[in-house]
């Protein structure tokens, strides 16, 4: 099937979103869910044809003499598209609960920009060449900017500024010249099995510079020092943070790197590039230092953001290791981390809507009022850490295996250390929620009714009020249960992913 069709559902739904608008919001959101289901089916169709050995291409637009805009289906891209389209449905359902529960304004604009971003993600996933990928990359940046600044407050404006400036300037100043350079050297930008650059097409130094331009220029992968935009983007409503800034946008970055490693450099050429060493060092530094920063953050979303930065650098490292095992692991990690991290963000949003809490120190005892949320959070955290029975273990295993193949033993130590840090900063939250007593009312924020004269809760004994469940709205709850169960499901049943990635032709 022509992958161009996948752009249709998210684009075609936009007129419906605008038409139904605020007045008929149930219809508006229903239309998005339907579009999401259609999109998922289309991607599934591409999956089936890939499994049957049928490749598919779209037509092409001749943008510049010889440089075309074109889409083609390929296993890693299909995997990414499946992930994004599935989570789009779930996130829309989650948004129904969140956006209404949080009384957000301009929801129509929100959903419309969201749909554009999803269409651009599909274009990135099926991009046939670097130019198409770059176009999609820039459209994602621009279409998510109104989402980041959605609240319209001073903080949102400042966050949006950092977001836009970092992503735009790196892509114009580093990513674009890297593409042009590749084009000038090889005369093509098409993603080709085995890569288009050969070890002798550039001097070793120039090759290293080119690779560095790609790795640093794709700032959506959030390697340090270009990571600041991700915490800044956390001013966005939680559904945006969860789908776009834990999955779609950031994963477009690392996905682009995986594609470039596999199909532009080719793993054999990449293995000869000396610059991988310093870039691996930079990725390892990002993994560790952002984990440490995550420790220091007491705001829940900020901590999750730094955790994402750290996990993204796993995938960057996987791409740079230049082995088929590591890149397979990296592609799997896109999915595994995607499901786990979106669960965590859903939980953070649910806590914000139901309990009006954003700080980790306020979460003591929350497991009693929001047990389902906190169970989902625990599962998500296990997924990130990579502990059975959560799915993260498989991708981490593959990346570790790739590290050994490449002989970079020190990187294993970094990965293990980072896992320990993950345990520390992620499991703290459910531990607080389930085992710490509820803080006395006075020290928490003022959202709870503070009835003077009532007996103050004695520490450790659950009060009558907090004994009752007070969960987020049902759609949100349902969404996070769904993603949490996928985290567990993929532990027991990762076969479809593995089979799909087995189709990747490396040479």
């Amino acid at each position: 099937m022509n992958p161009l069709w996948t752009l249709l559902p998210p684009l075609a739904v936009i007129p419906f979103i605008i038409f139904f608008g605020e007045k008929r919001k149930n219809l508006r959101e229903l239309s998005i869910v339907i579009a999401g289901i259609v999109l998922l089916l289309l991607n599934n169709n591409i999956y089936t044809s890939l499994m049957n050995g049928v490749s598919s291409r779209s037509g092409e637009i001749d943008m510049m003499a010889g440089l075309t805009l074109a889409l083609s289906a390929e296993p890693i891209g299909n995997l990414f598209a499946l992930l994004a389209s599935f989570l789009w449905i779930i996130t829309t359902i989650y948004s129904i609960g969140y956006m209404r529960g949080h009384h957000e304004k301009n929801q129509t604009r929100f959903y419309a920009c969201f749909a554009i971003a999803i269409a651009a993600v599909m274009a990135a996933a099926y991009a046939d060449n670097l130019l198409t990928l770059f176009v999609a990359y820039e459209v994602i940046t621009l279409s998510t900017y109104p989402l980041v600044t959605h609240a319209g407050t001073e903080a949102a404006r400042r966050g949006g500024k950092i977001y836009l400036i970092t992503l735009m300037s790196t892509s114009i100043a580093l990513f674009m010249p890297a593409i042009i350079w590749t084009w000038v050297v090889t005369g093509t930008t098409t993603f080709t099995v085995g890569g288009i650059l050969s070890p002798d097409s550039l001097s070793p130094l120039a090759m290293g510079v080119l690779l560095s331009l790609f790795v640093l220029g794709i700032a959506k992968a959030a390697i340090m020092p270009f990571h600041r935009w991700l915490p800044a983007a956390m001013v966005a409503p939680t559904p945006v943070s969860s789908l776009l800034h834990a999955v779609a946008v950031v994963k477009t970055g690392v996905f682009a790197l995986l594609k470039i490693a596999t199909y532009t450099f080719g793993i054999d050429t990449l293995a000869t590039v000396g610059a991988t060493d310093w870039l691996l060092g930079l990725a390892a530094f990002t993994v560790l230092s952002s984990s440490l920063v995550a420790f220091s953050k007491t705001n829940l979303k900020a901590r999750l953001a730094y955790s994402t930065i750290s996990q993204l650098s796993y995938i960057i490292a996987a791409a740079l290791l230049a082995s088929s095992v590591a890149i397979t692991g990296g592609a799997m990690h896109i999915v595994m981390h995607g499901f786990a991290k979106i669960t965590l963000f859903f939980c953070a949003g649910a806590i914000m809507v139901a309990a009006h809490k954003t700080e980790i120190t306020e979460l003591d005892g929350l497991g009693r009022t929001m047990p389902l949320t906190m169970v989902a959070f625990t599962i998500g955290a296990l997924g990130i850490i990579g502990l059975p029975p959560a799915s993260g273990v498989w991708s981490k295993l593959l990346i570790a295996q790739g590290t050994l193949q490449n002989g970079q033993v020190w990187l294993i130590a970094v990965l293990m250390l980072s896992t320990l840090l993950n345990i520390g900063y992620l499991l703290e939250i459910p531990l607080r929620a389930f085992f710490r007593p509820v803080r006395p009312q006075g020290s928490s924020d003022g959202h709870h009714d503070d009835h003077v004269g009532e007996p103050v809760d004695i520490a450790g004994t659950p009060s009558f009020k907090s004994a009752g469940w007070h969960e987020a709205p049902a759609p949100s709850l349902w969404a996070m249960m769904m993603t949490a169960s996928v985290v567990i499901l993929l532990f027991f049943y990762p076969a479809p992913l593995v089979e799909l990635l087995d189709l990747v032709a490396w040479r």
């Binding site: 637009i61 001749d62 943008m63 510049m64 003499a65 440089l67 805009l69 130019l131 770059f134 176009v135 820039e138 459209v139 621009l142 600044t149 319209g152 404006r157 500024k161 836009l164 400036i165 735009m168 300037s169 114009i172 100043a173 674009m176 010249p177 042009i180 350079w181 084009w183 000038v184």
Partner: protein
Amino acid sequence: MTFSEQLPALQIVIPLLGAPLCVLLRHARGAWLVTLVCNIACTLVALALVAATRDGEIIRYALGGWAAPTGIEYYIDIVNATVLLVVSFISSVVCLYAWNGAEKEVPLDRHYLFYTGWLLCVTGLLGIVITGDAFNAFVFLEISSLATYLLISLGRERNALTAAFRYLVMGSIGASFILIGVGFLYAATGTLNMVDLSERIPQAESTRTVLIAFTFLAIGLMIKAAIFPLHAWLANAYHYAPVTVTALLSGTATKVSLYLLLRFFFNIFGTEYSFGQMLLNYILLPGAIVGFVVMSAVAIFQTDLRRMLAYSSVAQIGYIVAAICLVTPLGISAGIVHIINHAMIKAALFMATGCIIYRLGHAHIQSLGGVAKSMPVTTAAFIVAGLSLIGVPLTAGFVSKFNLIAAMLEKGWWIAAALILMSSLMATIYIGRVVEIMIFRKPRLATPESSGTREAPLMMLLPLWGLIAISIFFGVFGSETLSIAASGAERLLDGRLIEAVTATAAQAGSMEVSQ
């Protein structure tokens, strides 16, 4: 002798006859209609000429039936046919826009003079491009300069007069230099016809006369094209002229001078003489590079939107000149593509600015708060055109910038490529700054103009968005402009204006087509 053979003459005759008609009519709206019809007719003629020269054909038209050495000859190939189309098309779009655009800025009783000036200006610009006679080019240059002087001085602010005067002085100096250069060429070769010049200069190129002619022409053209550091007249002129005029000039005037520069140095003097012996690229390149870096930086600190865009124009001219200095097919075609694309982008930006001025009465950047709310369509247009200026994919600016950098990298000019990227980042800043104020800053209710502002009139928005739609089209289907530019670059690098000695006397009043 068929109608289609007379197209080259019509290109000039139509606006030239339209101008006195406007004066005779003495009616504001009538003059507008005449101007619009003339411009659209010119666009159609230019379109036909592009179609005729598309496959590398050359049209030589002897004006009034006087064959080349005696009379004036019009010489058209794909390079100047393209520029003719750009000039007449931009002029048509801006003219459509002027229905509302000029009504507040120019007193209604002077409109007929305004449109007379407009048509004369267009006549001059088209004439410079179409002519195959060096002296005739100077004459048309003077026509367009005088008409531009009139148009700029119609600006509302008192500074418009000073700006117009400065423009006149600088323009006259530039034109005098060109005249002296052409004079020396005549002394050295005994001809003014461009084809003959290109054939005779090689025999005389070691003489000091040709050397002096070259120098005078180079400086004169640098002034007219506003190449850094000879750009000083541009900022004031663009700032204080009626914004409709600025939109017209930004898309046409400097582009025409750049065309003349290309024609003189690639075809008449020849690539080998200009760049191999005279090292013109070493003279132009430092100015171009310093120009686009410094002028982009200067644009960031402007307080008036028009002035900011004016400095940005100088920077963009720097890109074009830098691309030409590469003297490679890829470089020159990148330059020509940017001449086309920048004409559209900058005209669109000035038109959007004009919409804002129409409603707010000013264009102070700091006071643009709330514009996004009261004028969303204009703001959206400004954003899209701004993205194109920055060079975001799917816009025309991206095609330009991509090819520009590719040409630089192909020649191995790393530093120049890096500086272009730096200048693009500065463009991100100056455009982003304006957009941010438009969207996020609260309107200042203190001034009566800014409260209760509405969207600009439809007759301003339609041409504006039409231009933007076309620039998006050329951003997605960039191969269209690129292939024209590539064949143009081939013609320019080819050196000689015609193959061997096919320049037999053209038949009276007809044109001769030679392959």
